[in-house]
Amino acid sequence: MLRTSLAYFCIAVVAVFAADISISTLDPWLELKKLGLGFLTPDFFSLPEFGEALRNTVSFALIGIVLAVIFGSVLSLFFEYTAVRLFCAFIRSIHELFWAFIFMPITGLNSLCGILAIAIPYAGIFAKVYAEIRQESDQRPAEALPENTSRVSGFLYATLPVIYHDLKNYTSYRFECALRSSAILGFIGLPTLGYHLETAFREGMYNEAAALLYSFFLLILSIRFWARPKIIAIPIIAAVLVTSWDATLSLANIIRFFTYDILPWPMRAEGFYAGTQTVTLPVGEIFHWLQNITVTNILPGIWSTVLLTQIALVSTAVFTLASFAFASRRFFTPAVTGPTHLALVVLRTTPEYILAYIFLQLWGPSMLPAVFALFLHNGAILAYLTARNVNQLELPFDGSASRINRYFYEVLPRCYGQFLAFLFYRWEVIMRESAILGILGITTLGHFIDSAISRDHLDTALLLICVTAVLNMLIDSLSQRIRKRLHISAHLAAGISP
């Protein structure tokens, strides 16, 4: 375990030298001062004009999650089939923003695009986690049923009640994530909070940005009051009613997208210039096209994405290990743990995309803003989970009075395995985000996807998205293998999974 940790640490140190990390703004402190001032004086009067964006943020997330729960549940029942598992791994390895890129040409920039962009990857996530919850649940009630009980009745009586609590907790945790996804979909033009946040930040109207961000925090905090199983039907119906469904879907368009637009350009070139739109199969030119994209986009994109991922992963670990003690009652009194918790909640509630955007405004384009955004957001989640585990440890009352002794001898050895499991779970998430942050300008895969989309090269964009997905699936399976080898697991204790 220690050897693995050290190896990852060394890789990250080497990566830091290879990465482009710098502060390029002329006066980062001035910008920070303006930002701080803005966040102290939020302009709540500007909020009414953003009412629609807030409403869209909630309704996209809510409808998206409902669809994801439905499809995810169905898929989870067939999760023992390799094909289903691979399919789910594939759809969840593509980030919500990339799904939105894919749907944009078909549906346009509207509610349907936003909802599908959330529903599809979350369905893949639910399928996996629901299946895991079912497999790890207590099987004895189901085994004790009478011989001829039908599968459906058996499920309803002896399985669902056992796993309901875990399902509910996990789903509501994911709903919070979906609200974050929904908000950042605005950054690429959908009518949610991110759209206005981007404008406010770009134009330096920090008190407006602060008001938007604070209302987003309140929204997340308020989930527990209105997103309850007993009354959830009301917000869902309301969401369906307020959402504008004026997307014009033409079947011809969809067919054209899948059978023409996304085909490699050399296949379309001849027909395009002839005006006939016929498709040909010039193998040599396709190979050349592929080679060209590999050299100019795929390889540099993968290189940057992996560099950023490894640096962010290890920074997340360092941040977590340095901060969790301050959030744990085993080390400090509520006078310290309280404020620490508040800071951690703010950091994990703010989507990393928004954090990266803010740091980008402060420090200018390099990997630095992305690294900070990733380790602050992910580190806050891991520190919260680790502190919670540590609070449950029973430490002997005659242990050392020194906090440092307690940290290194009593606490760290006990919680390190679980911490590492959480971190390796997070690896795949960090990688997904590293790719996405390319949209903000660093040269990870997202950057090349974004520029292909803006040049209307759907073929290139889709190829790059698939490459990103495969890279993500590789990281996922590598992480699983490492967790297995180290015999560590992070169970879905109390519902919150990393």
Binding site: D398, S400, I404, N405, Y409, E410
Partner: protein, 231 residues
């Protein structure tokens, strides 16, 4: 035959180490006790018995706090760090006696000096060949011996234990009890088994209804008293 010496007489013979005078004891997470008076002198081997929830752990914890510098505590469970080696777990008995820098260095790279101090203790407990094995890989009996090792390394004249053998099998119980009573000059231990208490200790304190029900030399503890204690 019952040879009851009065409390005063016993105190006159040897030095009093720990004493409580009509004290009410409560901790947030333990059973509270009322009006506890007792005194423990050097060289005594005292067993605490009583139903679970009677307050044995509370009393032990209070006695420990009367003189932490002279007491070493063997816990029931949770106290050993399964992920660390036998060496480190024993070393933890002296964490407070060494500087933080020394502790950190010894965690990363066990220092010769401390190995030399700990090897004799491990040998005495039959753990010499397991010194750098992780505690999580040991059997229950071996783990409990590591706990004793930590208490021995900590030093002090009073050895305390909280039901040290309740999770072990019959053979290991005898072995560990013999080890504990011979390791400490003065021993105070809560016990699950009456039989073991009568064989390994000279004095038995029975706790019931959150106070001391009896406090007698072992041969004065009758079956009637015991059945009343556990009823």
């Amino acid at each position: 035959m019952c040879t009851d010496i009065t409390m005063n007489a016993r105190m006159a013979v040897s030095k009093e180490l720990l004493a409580l005078h009509g004290e009410d004891i409560s901790y947030s997470d333990f059973v509270a006790l009322k009006g506890i008076s007792l005194s423990i002198s050097a060289g005594e081997k005292v067993a605490l018995i009583g139903q679970s929830g009677a307050g044995k752990t509370t009393l032990l914890r209070r006695l420990y706090q009367l003189n932490p510098a002279e007491c070493a505590f063997i816990h029931q469970h949770h106290a050993l760090v399964a992920q660390l080696t036998v060496f480190h777990n024993i070393y933890m008995g002296q964490l407070d006696a060494h500087s933080i820098f020394q502790n950190l260095r010894n965690l990363v790279r066990p220092s010769r000096k401390y190995i030399d101090e700990i090897v004799p203790i491990a040998r005495q407990l039959g753990l010499e060949d397991k010194l750098f094995t992780r505690v999580g890989e040991l059997s229950g009996g071996q783990q409990q011996r590591v706990g004793i090792g930590r208490a021995l390394y900590r030093g002090g004249s009073i050895l305390m234990a909280d039901e040290p053998v309740s999770s072990l099998d019959m053979v290991q119980r005898e072995e560990i009890m013999a080890c504990i009573v011979s390791a400490g000059q003065t021993v105070v231990s809560s016990m699950h088994s009456i039989n073991l208490s009568q064989r390994y200790f000279q004095r038995i304190i029975g706790l019931k209804d959150r106070s001391v029900f009896f406090d007698l030399p072992v041969d004065c503890v009758t079956d009637d008293l015991l059945s009343e204690l556990y009823c």
